[in-house]
């Protein structure tokens, strides 16, 4: 994936910007709050339609502007792609629109056109945060990888909310309706489970290998921990297993008025030498593990798509010691294009182009 042109209108602190990055490593140097992370955020949005820094799309629109537009031209294996994503202030929520090659498309059809892997300081939460952070990590990666995943996720999430509301309503629960919700949950939930199961399987072996390349206190083990028991080998049919689990959980779900069974309660366990990393790991081990996970995400994406994804490293490289920095850079040596932000240039990096970002102005300095 090669981003040839990025154009911003009223995005964060950028009123207007046209940026023509180069192939290879693009290094963006600047002090905080000058706009380098905003630029990476915009690139991530161009690929995924979502920000990695906020869930409030409103924040992305420049102060006093009515709408933010991010557009770009990317070259991928599939040819040249013209992408645009715009966010407009609305009466209630914001309105988001997506276009591919000039034609409007729905979000589900926009996702995955230009694959992006992002690595930012808050990704440490994937290791130390609650299970929801690990599910969010899987959802973000799988939504780009598998075309059926995002529609299933949207349907599943909404149906869980409806089922929860049904269980909590003051009137007696309509059993027919409950059975319909469960049927719908099984269908979309099975796609989530099989997607997560196969993704974590490949991710874990890549992450294990990456970790072993720079530390000997492993092995790093990453395992899918589904809420629905998929058998001792973890290879049970997700739809069948989920159906059984729902049937068993039904009395408790009804009496407790809670949605107890299903992949909305999945987790991923991350262990180092057999011990839970979030509890027993040192900060250095946790940082190394997230680095290994991100490198694995990059490698899996590249292998699946047959081309390297756009790699966005927001303020993470300079925090690594030189051993880990070199190991990470070696792991992404085949990257077609990457964007790296830092306050000062990381010593190990050989950038193809260096830019200085000051007050939403971009100047090439090397």
């Amino acid at each position: 994936m090669l981003l040839e042109l990025l154009a911003l209108t009223d995005v964060r602190n950028y009123a207007e910007l046209e940026f023509t990055p180069v192939r290879g490593l693009n290094l963006l140097i600047g002090d905080n709050a000058q706009g380098k992370s905003n630029l990476l955020e915009a690139m991530a949005m161009l690929g995924t339609g979502r920000s990695f820094r906020t869930t409030h799309d409103r924040d992305i629109i420049r102060a006093d502007a009515g709408a933010a537009t991010i557009s770009g031209r990317a070259r991928s294996r599939a040819g040249t792609l013209q992408l645009a994503c715009s966010i407009a202030r609305g009466p209630g929520n914001v309105r988001k629109r997506y276009t591919v090659n000039g034609g409007p498309v729905r979000y589900a059809r926009y996702l995955g056109r230009a694959q992006v892997v992002t690595f930012a300081p808050r990704d440490l939460d994937v290791i130390v945060g609650p299970p929801s952070r690990r599910r969010a990590f899987l959802n973000a990666a799988l939504s780009q990888e598998r075309p059926a995943y995002y529609p299933a996720l949207a349907s599943y999430t909404r149906t869980v909310e409806q089922k929860r509301a049904l269980l909590r309503a003051p009137e007696p629960v309509d059993s027919d309706l409950l059975a319909i919700y469960d049927e719908r949950l099984v269908r979309s939930g099975a796609e989530l489970m099989s997607g997560r199961r196969s993704y974590v399987a490949v991710l874990s072996s890549e992450a294990e290998r990456a970790y072993a390349a720079w530390a000997s206190d492993g092995p790093l083990e990453v395992r899918y921990a589904p809420n629905v028991d998929l058998g001792p080998e973890g290879d049970a049919d997700p739809a069948e297993a989920f159906e059984l689990r729902l049937r068993a959980a039904r009395p408790l779900e009804r009496s407790g008025r809670r949605v107890l069974a299903g992949p909305h309660r999945d987790d991923v366990t991350i262990r180092l030498a057999g011990r839970d990393l979030s509890i027993f790991g040192s900060q250095g081990q946790q940082r190394s593990a997230v680095l290994a996970l991100k490198l694995a995400e990059y490698r899996v994406s590249a292998a699946n798509a047959g081309e390297s994804p756009l790699l966005l490293l927001d303020d993470v490289l300079s925090e690594l010691d030189s051993l880990r920095q070199s190991a990470f850079l070696a792991g992404i040596a085949d990257v077609e294009q990457a964007f790296v932000t830092a306050t000062t240039a990381p010593p190990e990096i050989a950038a193809a182009a260096t830019y200085r970002v000051v007050a939403a102005e971009l100047n090439r300095i090397g």
Binding site: R106, A108, S155, E171, D176, I180, R184
Partner: protein
Amino acid sequence: MKDRVRLCSRCFSLTEEDPCTICTDERRDAQTICVVAEAKDIFAVERTSAYRGRYHVLGGLISPMDGIGPAQLRVRELLERIGREEPREIIIATNPNAEGEATALYLSRCITPSGTAVTRLAYGLPIGGDLDYADEVTLTRALEGRRAL
């Protein structure tokens, strides 16, 4: 009482005369009833000119989050109408989103015991697509390719 918009007492669409002109049009097929969520969905289907049956407006979709269960919709009225008119086919044309699909499945469960065939629009629309947004060609294809529920 002219020019006063009210609900048709048979199909619950918006009308100035009761019953509405679709319900009283003898050239239309009384054996087929197309179930839609809102009255505005009738206009989307009518635009295609591919449908010659009658309608039934539910008045929304099942959504416990919004306090809407089957009792808040015109489900009972639909079942009574099926008992009275004995149609051959009920086409459920709710949007293909989570609420539209659940409502379609619910109606199918209620109607099937009566022996009336229940079909669903075969959407060429992306998931989450609306009837409103569908162009005539897509909607006509969805009507022609409807499948049993």
